[in-house]
């Protein structure tokens, strides 16, 4: 019988207290600055089946609410009191999603009975492998991404597994840091155990055991009520990463959101084949894997902030993740940079919901901003300095009720920046400018949030700049409800000089003394017709330097004379703009910006569907290769050959089949 609704709330508060205490313990005792600065860690409690029934809200990464530890837990034969297990293998159990994330779980017993698990992870700066920090877009198999430990016992009935620790620490670059952070994680697991014991003493074992399930049911019920407010139907949306590998072609994420009653499906059919780069998302095809669901968590919580954050909220949803695609790669595809893909998956999810709930969802948030890392030499001391100087983030999309927040927001909300003054004292660089990027937000009745922008100069030879997760240099954040797309991201070396270099999505490069690096991520999309934005709001944006006077005129039709809106001129200008707009543009709900619109004139929906249909029939190891070949062939076609109905794609594939007879045999199978 379910526990009563008063006790349920009290238990919910005590469970939250347990996981918050775990998080604060971890945060307080962690060694690495990375953990303290980025808060890239989680803590939680799971049922014996591995479903998270409690997670913290104050601290930690926002991506792993409702993570399912079940398969990882079941890969260990048996559990005894005092055991503590570990894995960082993205292909064993699919709790871990890339090798730097070391996940721990501790069985919690009450009188010899296993009641639940305390769980959590820390993103370690390095776990060995081909490159420092273990992550690079250029890696192609998971073996290059550091040491991998399948689900194993770190403690066996209270005894530390020294050999395992020794093997791990031998394979990483800064072992004392990993070990220090591991100790903090262990302390957090033990805090969880103590708190669970206190709860059992207080509520009784029966209530506690029943309560775990009831908390999942509660969240599930809240979610079902919420889904019922979404009209039934199929809602398709696609978005792209600029490149499927360094210097590559776009990679599409496609989702069809199917809502029926109080349940929904995210069907990823139509997403690109798995990649020969580390942008793959390891999900094992599990229908409630967290990575394809992250966008849902944001949407659900935004629609109902009282929703309890646990695995129950996943129950009314499932994902369809075709094997051999970027959202369900086959071993041993590299997966280290899955966060870039996951960001785009979130944008795509938001797009589906913007179709389903046009009056309740925002336009696309900013994207493509990296964490800027610098490795350089201090000329005064000769010391090598390696530092993360800032996350370059951007704002939230405009929404039906307000402008998007500037500089950060939406799904880029939990990172902190580093003060300019701290950067300049710590790292031998000079920050030339740090602030918001004018005109970067998508125009709209409610303007898209602005990007942040960082410009700095280096002073030592052989300085290495790393900018992981670079994207949106081509395809901007889309606008919705008649709002416009944002400006794309800008990454430049020595901007405004005669030796300026457009770095686009480069994520690692070397610079020399005197070089200046400028990084601006994309802004966020606007919402609603920009011509409906009150002229006063446009004027205020100009006075705040958020938009230029030229943009006020071009995008909003607002004429500003002597610091004031010229009402008459504005009116006539806006009327003219309304008249000039093509009917198709006027009716379009989404605006994708010029680059994507140009791309989609060649890669129409029908063409992309044809591509997906062809690739699906091929062996997984051929798919990426053939995709590139088809892109090449279609790219070379002349205007007359383009029909946009899928036939040119099939035509290109036929030619490829002729060129590679061995593929013909495979495809026929």
């Amino acid at each position: 019988m379910p526990i009563d609704k008063v006790t349920l709330q009290i238990l919910a508060n005590h469970c939250a207290a347990a996981t918050e205490s775990m998080a604060y313990t971890l945060f307080r005792t962690a060694h690495s600055t990375f953990v303290k600065e980025t808060e890239d860690f989680t803590t939680g409690l799971t049922t014996p089946e591995g479903l998270t029934f409690a997670s913290p809200k104050d601290l930690g990464a926002t991506w792993f609410v409702g993570l399912d530890y079940g398969d990882a837990i079941r890969m260990v034969d048996s559990y005894r009191p005092g055991d503590l297990c570990l894995t960082n293998d993205p292909y064993s159990g699919y709790a871990c999603t890339h090798s730097p994330d070391i996940h721990l779980w501790k069985p919690i017993f009450w009188k010899d009975e296993l009641v639940c698990y305390s769980v959590g992870h820390i993103h370690n700066t390095d776990v060995g492998g081909a490159v420092p920090a273990s992550l690079s877009r250029t890696l192609v198999e998971v073996h290059q991404e550091g040491i991998r430990v399948p689900p194993s016992k770190l403690y066996n009935e209270g005894r530390l597994n020294d050999e395992l620790v020794r093997v791990m620490m031998t394979n990483v670059r800064v072992p004392e840091q990993n070990w220090g952070d591991l100790k903090a994680q262990i302390a957090a697991m033990n805090t969880g155990e103590r708190k669970v014991h206190e709860m059992i003493e207080r509520f009784g074992i029966e209530t506690f055991r029943q309560g775990m399930g009831d908390l999942l049911d509660y969240s599930e019920q809240q979610t079902r009520n919420l889904i019922r407010t979404i009209p039934d139907g199929d809602y398709f949306f696609a978005d792209y990463m600029d490149e499927d590998a360094a210097g590559g072609v776009p990679c599409r994420i496609a989702i069809t959101l199917r809502v029926k009653g109080d349940e929904l499906v995210l069907d990823y059919t139509g997403s690109d084949p798995q990649l020969t780069s580390s942008l793959n998302m390891p999900t094992g095809g599990k229908e409630r894997h967290i990575l394809p669901m992250v966008g849902l968590v944001y949407v659900f919580y935004t629609l109902d902030p009282t929703i309890l954050l646990n695995s129950g909220m996943m129950r009314p949803a499932r994902a369809i993740l075709p094997e051999g695609t970027v959202v369900n790669p086959k071993f041993p595809a590299a997966v280290g940079m899955r966060s870039l893909t996951c960001m785009r998956v979130q944008d795509t999810t938001f797009g589906c919901f913007a179709r389903a709930l046009p009056d309740r969802m925002p336009a696309c948030p900013s994207g493509g901003g990296p964490m800027m890392n610098v490795k350089t030499t201090d000329n005064r001391t000769g010391r090598t300095v390696m530092a993360s100087i800032d996350p370059v983030l951007g704002g939230a999309g405009g929404s039906p009720h307000a402008d998007g927040s500037d500089g950060s927001g939406a799904n880029s909300s939990f990172l902190k920046n580093t003060p300019v003054e701290i950067n300049e004292v710590e790292v031998p660089v000079k920050i030339l400018r740090y602030g918001l990027a004018q005109d970067s937000g998508g125009p709209g009745k409610h303007r898209g949030g602005l990007a942040s922008s960082l410009e700095f100069k280096v002073f030592a030879p052989n300085t290495t700049i790393t900018a992981r997760n670079r994207d949106r240099s081509h395809f901007a954040a889309w606008g919705a409800g008649g709002g416009k797309a944002s400006a794309p991201s800008v990454f430049a070396l020595n901007p405004g000089t005669n030796h300026e270099v457009n770095l686009e999505n480069t994520d690692i490069f070397t610079v020399e003394p005197g070089d200046v690096i400028l990084m601006t991520c994309s802004g966020a999309g606007g919402w609603g017709d920009p011509l409906e934005r009150p002229a006063d709001a446009v004027l205020h944006d100009v006075k705040c330097s958020f938009i230029s006077a030229a943009a006020a005129l071009r995008d909003y039709g607002v004429v500003i004379v002597d610091g004031k809106v010229d009402e008459r001129q504005t009116e006539s200008r806006r009327a003219a703009m309304r008249k000039e707009a093509k009917p198709a543009d006027r009716q379009a709900f989404f605006d994708y910006g010029p680059e994507r619109s140009g791309f989609e004139r060649i890669w129409t929906l029908a063409n992309y569907d044809a591509l997906t249909a062809i690739l699906k029939t091929l062996p997984v190891n051929w798919r990426f290769f053939v995709k590139r070949k088809i892109f090449d062939a279609v790219g070379r076609m002349q205007g007359g050959e383009r029909r946009g109905d899928g036939s040119e794609v099939r035509q290109a594939f036929d030619r490829i089949l002729k060129e590679y007879p061995q593929l013909q045999a495979q495809a026929a199978e």
Binding site: I10, P305, G407, G409, E421, G435, S452, K543, C544
Partner: protein, 679 residues
Amino acid sequence: MAYRIGVDIGGTFTDFCVFNAATNALHSFKVLSTPDKPGSEVMEGLRQIEARFGVKPKDVEYFTHGTTVGVNTVIQRKGIKLCLITTENFADVLELARLKMPDPYHLFSRRPVPLVTRDRVLTVRERIAADGSVEEPIDEANVRAALAEARAMGAEGIVVALIHAYRNAAHEQKIKEIAQRQAPELPVYLSSEVWPIIREYERTVTTVINGYVQPRVAHYLGSLQKALAEMGVPAEPLVTKSNGGVMSAELGKTQCVQMVLSGTAAGVIGASFIARQAGIRNCMSLDIGGTSADVALIIDGQPQFGTGETIGEFPIYIPSVAVSSIGAGGGSIAWVDALGVLKVGPESAGSNPGPACFGRGGTRATITDAFAICGFIGQGDLGYSQVKLDLGAAKAAIGVIASKLGLGLEETAESIIKVACSGMYMEVSKLISRTGVDPRAFSLLAFGGAGPMLACFAARDLGMPNVLVPNTPGVLSAFGGLIADIKNDFIKTVYLDLDGAAAATIRRNFAELERTAVHWLKEEQRYRGESRLVYSADMRYRGQSFEIETMLDRSWVEAGDHAKIASAFHDRHMAVYGHSDPKAAVQVINLRLVIVGTSPKPDFQRRALAAGAVTPVKSIEVYLDGKRQKVPLYRRAELKPGQTFSGPAVILQDDTTTCVPGGYAGRVDEWGNLQLDQA
């Protein structure tokens, strides 16, 4: 006859503590606050003091006072129109803040609109480098243009916060000079003067808040000084500060940011005095008012200090008594969600309309209403006869919740109390884990109007074995102000690698801080008594991005003993984080100096312990632990030191009601405090 008076102005009530230095008698009472006419409640209080205790204004030799004028100015956004001048290319410092959003799961989460909007941020061309050297000299014409623009915009004050000004204030000073010539009517606030810390956002926002509230606070303090003088009070009024000390009202007129959060800090100072006196080393103070609960840890008899406390929607970074505010108070509203689950808060009925049972038009059930339904309150007057209990209104409000839950009225009321306590448990658990202390070694010191009502329930959840309720729990902030020392903080950012070479720099900078501090105390504050200096430094391991404050011994500084300084840091790191690395390089970021001028303290006498049990005033019926039961009602004034009783019981006093569940043994200690121990 010499009297000392402490006053704390809150949202609803203004609290007074009157101490007779000759007899050691302490009196307290409250009057209703007059937010529309700040200061008039003080006059009203002084009139009542004369009427009640026969204290004439001319006998008031010491007067301290905490006010919410500053904090209200920020919350209601009624400060002056400021312009901010920053270094060119860094104009968005307030817009970006530190990026992290208040609710990171919410796609519509927003940062608050800055107190200086971006259109009123002006920039000047100049640049100081990280080492304090001038990289680009300031361009005077450029400054004059910026000031002209500020004037054209109708600025009422100018905040100047330039990059690396904590290291070299010359450019900020230059702007001030030019401004004083060009626009003498505009007050100018420099980040290098208000609180010169490294980290541009933190320094800027602190300076902005100072400027934003300054004219209003100064005006208020001026009229208070005048009114007190007119009434014939000879004492120069002192104001309480966020750092737990006091300073003269005259200094408060310019150093406003120091006093914006003073009320909560003074409460903790009062609590730590009482805990020390009662021989309690470690305690958690829990101050529950109408809208929020303030929790602070007192370790080894000392309050803890921190920075980054919030005022309204904004953080300020001056040294403050560390207080965590929880959104749960006597006015927190109970509600039932769509799935029938009972919730309490975060919405609050506040002080207006307040709980339904206050009969001021509140209709929604609050925690206080739940206590009324359970029979714990309503046995006497509330709040010094200022409020009468309307039980009918409470019944109606709780009834709405009861019908949704399908429970009886009293069962519902007790459920509300339990859910509220579990919410408080969650918030306090965070604080405990953040600091790594063991709650079983702590007493809970409860004050504020609603603190003693909830304290035992909260302590039971938290595993804290002992609850202490002081004599005057309703006016502890006023009491804290009365006993607080004159105190000021000084800081110098040095950013050094701690080695032999650093020792001389540290010594030199401390000597300079000491000169400034002594000048502040003797000349600006005109203090003539005993004083002491407290040395500390913010240190970290190289590569860390956060510092911890480590207390230093003056002798180490003078002897240039960097090894001792480093070793103190390693110990502190171990205590705070559970690990240290004696081999790692240590950096000194800031040097801190606190100067303290001791204020006169009441010399309370231990009272003789009487033996035996107390006689209840009467027996009342309350609903507790799931049933109606008869419990004794005691009057606090009649409880004598040494007397004992056992729970369940209810203790009534002017400023609060203490609820004692079963399983508690109560006694009155030799200072008159109620000590409640869980069996």
